[in-house]
Every structure is written in C-alpha cells, then in structure tokens.
Amino acid sequence: MKLKRLRITVATADEDKKRFIYEGYEIPKHQFSGKDIIVLKLDNGYNIGIRKRKDVKIDIIGEKDISISEYKNTTREIKKRAGISILNCGGTIGSRIEYLTGAVFPYVTAQELIRQFPEIKGITNIKTENVFSVLSEDITPKHWSVIAEKVYEHIKDGAKGIVVTHGTDTMHYTSAALSFMLRKLPIPVIITGAQRSSDRGSSDAKMNLLCSLIAANSDIAEVAVCMHASINDDKCYVHRGTKVRKMHTSRRNAFKSININPIAEIMYKNLSFKKLSNYNQKGTYSVKDMRFDNRINDNVALVYYYPGFKPEMINNLSEYDGVVIAGTGLGHVSTNPFNDKYSKSILDNIKMLIDSGIPVVMSSQTIFGRINFNVYTTGRMLKEIGVIGNFCDWTPETAYVKLCWVLGHEKDYDKIRKEMEMNLVGEITDRIVLIDR
C-alpha cells in the first residue's frame, strides 16, 4: 500500500503567523471521522484530523510504501510429530489489527503465532489451522458443526491435544456445543480467547494461550474453556465446557464456572497444572471409542422473560422446532393464578406450543442455581403442561445448545424430554456444593 506524504497549508487570520503548515502521511480515517477530514500521521507519531476547506491547500510531496498484511487462507501446516493443534476460529486472540486500514487479520501460520509468543516452543510442538475468521457475535450453530468436525479430524490425525482460539462473547455456546458433539474424547479440547487484544502491552492473549497449551497437554479428556482466573496475570482456570459462562463485558476473568468449581488451574509463573475437581481422564477412551456427531437442529429460539412480556410473543414462536425460556427465579413466567387485573399469563400460549409438539425448555435468568417447579404454584402449573427442565441446573445458553443438539436427533416429545433432563456431558449436576464467592 502506498502512503502519500502531504503538506497541508492552512491560512489564518493571525497576523503573527500567516499560515499553519502540517506535514505527514495521509492514512485511512476512522469510521466515525468527519466527512471532509483528512487524517495525517505527523512525524512526531501523532495523528491529527484536518478539514478540507477553501483556505486549506494540500500538496503531495512524497510517497512511501507500507507493507500491509493480506488475508491468506492457508489450510493445514506441514505435518510434524504429534503435538497440539491450534485451531483458529477468529476472535480477538486469533487476530491482529492492521492500524492503517483498520482491518483485522487472523494469525495464519504456526510460525506467526510462535513469533508472537516464542514461549510456545518450550511447551510443545504445535500445528495450526485457520478454520475461519469470524467475530464472536457472528458465530452460528453451523460454525459449531464446522469446528467440531475440524477437531475430530485433528484427533484422528493424532493430535495429543487441541486448542481452539475463539471470540469470547459466544465462547460458552461453542464450548457447550462441542461438548455435545464430541463424546468419549480421548484428549483435551481447550477453548480460549482474549479480553485484551494482542496490540496492547497488557494483552491477556499470551497468558491464556500458554495456559491453554498446558491444559491441552494435560490428562483432561473433555471440552473445556481456559481463561484468566482473576484480574491478576497469575493463573488461569479450566472450566467445564457445559458449565461456563461469560459473566462480564470486559474483565480478564469474565469466565466463571456456574454451579460447579473450575476443573483445574494453571499457574502462569511455572506453568504448573493443578486438578481442582473431577473430570474425564485421558486413557479412558481411545480415538476408536470416540463418538463424533455434529447433527443439530438450529431452528430453536431462546427467549428472555420479563415483567411486560406479551403473550403474543409466545404465539410467534410456533415457527420454531423448540423453545428455551430464560425465566425468572426458580424457572417462572407469568401464569397469573390469582387473576390479577394487570397480569398477563402466558401459560395457555406455552401450552399451545407444547400441544403442537414444540418442546419448551425452562432455564433461569439468575444463571446460578437450579430450576425447581415444585415450590410455587407457577412452577407446578408449568410442570403440569409439560415444560421441560425441572431440577436442571443448566445455564440458558447450555439449555439452548442442548436442545439444538437433541432436536438434531429426536422428534418424539417424550424422548426429547427424557434426553433433555438426563445428564449427558456434565451439563446437569446432581449436587450443587456451596461455593463461597
């Protein structure tokens, strides 16, 4: 890319200084820059915006070539000894920003990644594959299937651990989906990301990635998320893929285990691994035992209940094959048992969905705790009409992902209910132990 060197002369009314002169390279401007603004990079490093006007004279006084990274989608790296595969699926961690154009590029090669994080070499062999470069919020259930398939391929190829780099916003959906799609795993599948981009001196990308490599090198044989444990650069937690959730918009330790403890921690200082609770261990299953099944039905809705919720909204869900509600408290929505004049029960509307064969699954917007339909009249009414989820301690997201997966395999309501309410991959726990937070 060629950058033009400009001299911009601005006439002024100030008698002492007849004109102002700015010299620098014109660079692409910010999305929110004014219409007539030219952005110059001055020789002192600062960028400034100058408006094109009648009294502004612009001369091109030079040019310079700047190498701009180009997006190259290379597939598999050269095959090495069995090591850890890093599958780049976009997000902050797997990309870097091109400041001049504002474009975001994925790390493509293992070399590039190693150049950025030379410590990787000390841990293990890696190979990388750039699966796709997608923003977290652009991820769809189709992407889950693609990632699962890639992971499966790498496992068959002999990888001894997998690290998936992923945007953090929807990381917990992907981790849940991979948990359902990749059963009887012989090796760890670790998903990680960054809350601070690598273009900052304070980025958490390096620590998260190195700790993830340690997790991927461990005896965990599950899908798990590995991210900062605290706001210090001291350790990472490894969270079970179905029991983790992003709980903060921006903090390093945004990811929390919900209703269980993290399964392991990795100290950054010496990259030591410590088991914190039980997990499926390496050696239990071989590659041959593994079951890969990425069939899903993504025609599922996840709706958030709130006090002004209109019953018609439920009717509009009849196009879907399944519905997950993030209800209040123990798993409630308005049923209006006392016939209050303002309240609008949605019980009948839900019943209509269920009667037409659409499974309705309950989760709670409190995030922590278990669904229990037995305590209040409302719960009992929901249970009676066939809402699924009593005694489940899943997050709304995991309930949603699970319903997608179950609907990919079952059509029969009773079988769906049975499958949903049964723990498949650690998404439902039978005991919630008190955790001091």
């Binding site: 601005v10 002024t12 100030d14 002492d16 200084k17 102002f20 700015y22 660079i27 401007k29 910010h30 999305q31 929110f32 820059s33 004014g34 603004i37 952005v39 001055l42 020789d43 002192n44 490093g45 600062y46 960028n47 400034i48 915006g49 100058i50 408006r51 700047i66 190498s67 920003i97 091109e98 400041y99 001049l100 504002g102 601070r196 690598s198 273009d199 900052r200 001196g201 304070s202 980025s203 390096k206 620590m207 706001i231 210090n232 650069d233 001291d234 918009t249 921006s250 903090r251 390093r252």
Partner: protein
C-alpha cells in the same frame, strides 16, 4: 546548546476517560493489589520502539495499588475507556488559545506505548489538540510546537528487584503537555519560559495546584553530544542548575570518549567476557557480597578492556563514568555495580580476591573490571546492559530522570515515533465552534494584563507574590466586584495573614472562595476593621462554618464602633491613643479615631 521544554500540568477536573475523581490518596492503604505483566507490541508502521524493547528485556512484574475512591475498572485495564472528558479538552483548548496556537479540526486519540509499567494498559492515551503557538519572553519569542491532552501515569511507589509497584490513584488524571521549540537561549531562559507558561495556565483557574501537579521536562541537544530528555524537574529554580550539570556531564563524557578512542585506536570494540566468581567469595569479608550470596545470588566479574582509570573519571561531583554504567545495570533490577576504579577497602574486598578476579579475567594493567551480585539471570542481564553501554562510542540519546534535585540519571533510551499507534476504542472528536466558544470563555485574562494591573494596584513585592498565588483569580474577582476596596488589604489578607494563621495551626485551607467574597464585601461596607479580619477567620473556623460571618461579628462583638461610641471611649480614656488602641484595636477604625482626636485637639 539547543533546548526546548515540555510542561506537564494536571487539569482540575475528573479523570480523562472515566468518571473517577482526580484525588490523591496520600498514605491511605489500597483496597487491592493487582499483579500484571506486559509485552512490547508493534506500531502501525510495524516497528517495535527501542525504548519499549529495552524495557521488555527486563521481564518485569508490575503491581498496582488500587483505591476504590478514585479507581474504577478503567484504571485497572478491566474495561475499555469511556468518553473523553470534554471539560479537560475545553481547558486545553483555552490554554492553546492563550498561547496563540491553532487547534486541529478533529482530534485523533493515540496510544503511546509505555512498557515501564506506569500504565496498566501498556500505553498512555494522548492526543494532539493544537500546534503552532508562541509566547513572548524577555529573550525573544519561544514557539510552541504542540499542545497535547494526555493521561497522567500511575505513580511509582517502589522497585524491588524485577518488580515495580505503582499506585493507581493518579492514573488517568488529565494532563496538558506543552512542548516548546528549541528556542530557549540559556538555562535561565528555560526557567523563565517554564514559569511564564505555568502562570498563563493558572490564569484559567482550571489547573491543579500543589506539589507534583506541574512537571517540567527539558529537551536538550548539545553539539557533539546528544539529545537528552530530562524528566521530572519539579522546582523551577533548579532548571538552570540541572541544565548546567547536563552540559557539563556531556562535555566530560566527550573527554572520556576521546581517551577511550585513543586507547582503542579509534574504535571502541571488545568482546563481552565475564566469569562467575561466587566460589572465591564464599568466605569473603565483604558484607555486601556476603549478603548477596546468602540470598542465593551469584557474583560475576566482567572485564572492561583498557578502561582502567576511565571508570573513575569524574563527570560531576559524586558521579563518575562508572556511575553511568551502573545506571544501565540497574535497569535489570540489580542495586548497582562495583568497579575497579573504586576503593575496594570500602567494600572490604581484599587483595587476594582482586588478584583472583584479575587472573580469572586474564586482565592486563590497563584493563578494568566490574562486579555484579544478584540472582543469576538478573546479574547476567546487568552485565549485558553494562557491556551495551560501555561499547557506545558516542554520547547516547537518553531519557534521564532528575535525581538529588539537580543531577540526572539514565532512565531509558529516548523513545521514537514508533511508540505511537491509534486508540481504536475512542472515536475521533470534532473541534467545533461550540467548544471553541466555551473554551474562550474560561481563558481568563492575559498574563500581560494581569501583570500590569497588579503592578498598578500593589507594591512590586506583593504584586509578584500575588501573580504566583493560587488565590490570584479570587483576588482579581474580588477587586473587580468591590470597586471601593483597597487591593492591598485583600492581597495582604490572602497572601500574608493566611500564611501566618496557618503557621499558628489554623486550618485556613477549609475556607472557600465564597467565604472570602462575603468577608471582603462586608469589609467594603464598613462592617469591621482590618485588624479584625484574622479574628473573624479564626472564630469562623472555630464555629466550624455553622455561623455566617455576620453572626460571628455579632457573637464576638467585632462590629465597627460608631462615631458616638468612639467619642465615648475617647472621653473614658482621656484621649490616650495608645491605651485606646490596645483595648479597642479590633473594633475601632483608626482613621475615625484620628479624625475625632484631631477634632478634640481643635476644641
């Protein structure tokens, strides 16, 4: 000599990219300590800044004291920045207008990399607001190159080995940075320029006052020497001394280089050669070395060929060429180095030990050695840094910090433009007519206007005191509002009476502008006499502000006596002026007393 200055002044408003108040937590304990690491990153032009790389080599740990009173997620780098503090921008624009500078049309917020850990994010947010101003001084015009608005860094608390501890209370306080052209003629001129810019900024009444709120950096280039940025000159009076010392240091360095070049026949070149000497020091008498070994450290000796006598060459009092090398070594985290031009008795290193070092390093007579004690990696890093510095056959470009008030020590290599890259989290900010108009409203009067006004109203000494006073704007406001008041009384009260009250232990800093407005407005109406002013202040504070000044006057009987009352007193005291004044000093108007006494005489 070519010299320009950079002035950093804290603005009196909340933090630049969040809504935390700008307050100093003093000795208060932090509620939390955050531990982090940082990395060097490339600029948009694909370069890693030399200063950044230098710092990164240190593999440092950073700890941050967190205060919930004035820190939120933003200072902890746990949340992106919020909107720019527009009031801060307005103040900078006002000062830019005062300095005849031209604001840019659209501000682009930048990140300036700082890997010394002084910012949790690894960069300081900064933006160029205006350029091309000027300032007239007694030695001619000084041009202003740039006026920037930036975040204050975190304050260093202490350094322990490879860990630096910072406090976050001041992180993010808005700073104006004013950079002058190298138009400064001499060290005294630097002082004058810095003072003048400081006074001009204070006329806006929107900048912070007190220790640490203004800092001057000095950029100096010396012919045949190098460009050096000197950070942290707090006292204006010291600027000439600092500059003179820097000139001398560079001149002496040139002498050192000349000697070295002669010894090396034109090119200072040698290999890095060092040995682990821990074993020979196992039963040493030297406490310093003993302590280091006890803590698990190693002792390394490195040869500096043909450096004998050079290391001890004095650059400034108490600072030798060896000190320059030591400053570099310290970057690694060691406390310093010992070199062979020093008195070894001082360290209790004996002849035998020196002999063994010389043998181990195969030293010739004109060779020198240095000793470093510390944890193995840290010590080797220190040796590398000394080697790196010793091989420079030129005066290096450096950022130096002021030490012992008038000397400087190496901080890091001078940073270049490669450490600037765009802050993508903050959109550009248009400078429109509205903000320029509101900026010109808070500009305040011009320095020349105020100077000539003060001289016309006060004696020279008091005028100069008032010009530098933090109460200047208050003084001007009172004088403009109360036309019949004697400016001298206001100035003396604000500058002298308050000081002596404060010395007596009266908490005068609890008084606000409204109090003084009231006080002088009542005084100008003739409610009380001048000597009563300190009493009113004392009683007002005693009453903890619960009573108004009027109530204080009533309660403590400080109201001015009427003519008939004074007449009565004169009669009672047989017209003895001494006696009357000693008794009624606080309530009698001396002018009235004189007039009435003169009347008595006539009768």
């Amino acid at each position: 000599m070519k010299c320009g200055i950079e002035i950093h002044q804290r603005l009196d408003t909340h933090k630049l990219f969040c809504n935390c108040p700008s307050i100093d937590m003093g000795d208060k304990k932090p509620s939390m300590i955050i531990n982090r690491k940082q990395y060097a990153v490339k600029s948009e032009l694909k370069e890693i800044d030399i200063a950044a790389r230098f710092e990164q080599n240190k593999n440092k740990l950073f700890s941050y004291y967190y205060y919930p009173e004035c820190n939120c997620e933003v200072e902890a780098d746990e949340s992106p920045p919020l909107e720019l503090n527009i009031e801060a921008l307005r103040i900078v624009l006002a000062i830019a207008l005062k300095l005849n500078a031209k604001p840019v049309d659209e501000i682009q917020v930048m990140r300036k990399q700082v890997t010394d850990g002084s910012n949790t994010s690894g960069f300081q947010r900064t933006m160029l607001v205006a350029s091309g101003g000027y300032l007239d001084t007694s030695k001619g015009r000084v041009n202003i190159i740039t006026i920037c608005l930036e975040e204050e860094s975190a304050g260093i608390v202490k350094q322990e080995g490879n860990r630096s501890i910072f406090r976050l209370d001041r992180l993010g306080i808005p700073l104006i940075e004013i950079v002058t052209a190298p138009d400064i003629k001499d060290p005294e001129h630097a002082r004058e320029t810095a003072e003048k810019i400081g006074l001009m900024m204070r006329l806006t009444d929107k900048v912070m006052r007190g220790i640490g709120t203004i800092r001057q950096d000095i950029n100096v280039s010396i012919e045949g020497g190098a460009r050096v940025e000197i950070k942290g000159a707090q006292q204006l009076e010291n600027i000439p001394k600092i500059l003179n010392n820097e000139i001398k240091r560079q001149e002496r360095l040139k002498e050192v280089l000349a000697k070295l070049n002669k010894r090396f026949n034109g090119k200072v070149e040698f290999d890095m050669f060092y040995a682990d000497m821990t074993e020979i020091f196992e039963s040493t008498e030297s406490n310093l070395i003993k302590k280091g070994i006890k803590k698990g450290g190693r002792v390394f000796a490195m040869k500096l060929p043909k450096h004998a006598g050079i290391l001890g060459y004095e650059l400034l009092p108490d600072r030798r060429y060896g000190t320059e090398l030591s400053d570099y070594a310290k970057v690694s985290g060691v406390k310093g180095i010992i070199h062979s031009d020093e008195d070894m008795d001082k360290y209790k290193i004996n002849e035998e030990e020196i002999k063994l070092i010389k043998i181990a390093l195969a030293m010739k007579d004109d060779d020198a050695f240095i000793l470093v004690v510390g944890e193995k990696n840290t010590a080797i890093k220190a040796l590398e840094l000394v080697y790196y510095r010793a091989k420079m056959d030129y005066v290096p470009q450096e950022t130096r910090k002021v030490i012992k008030e008038v000397y400087t020590a190496f901080m890091r290599p001078l940073s270049g433009k490669a450490r600037m890259y765009p802050e993508t989290d903050v959109p550009p900010i248009m400078i429109d007519k509205d903000i320029l108009d509101s900026a010109s409203k808070i500009k305040g009067p011009s320095l020349e206007e105020v100077q000539s006004f003060l001289i016309s109203k006060l004696n020279k000494d008091l005028a100069s005191k008032m010009l530098r006073s933090r109460n200047l704007r208050l003084f001007l406001d009172i004088i403009h509002r109360l036309k019949n008041i004697d400016p001298k009384i206001v100035a003396v009260t604000l500058e002298e009476s308050l000081k002596s009250l404060s010395r007596e232990g009266v908490k005068v800093n609890r008084l606000n502008n409204a109090f003084f407005s009231d006080l002088f407005s009542l005084y100008s109406k003739g409610s009380f006499v001048k000597p009563a002013i300190p009493e009113i202040i004392k009683y007002y504070l005693d009453e903890k502000g619960k009573l108004s000044i009027k109530d204080i006057i009533k309660k403590y009987k400080l109201n001015i006596l009427s003519e008939s009352e004074v007449k009565k007193i004169i009669k009672e005291n047989d017209g003895n002026i001494k006696r009357i004044m000693s008794k009624y000093r606080l309530v009698i108007d001396p002018a009235m007393l004189n007039r009435l006494l003169e009347g008595n005489d006539k009768e």
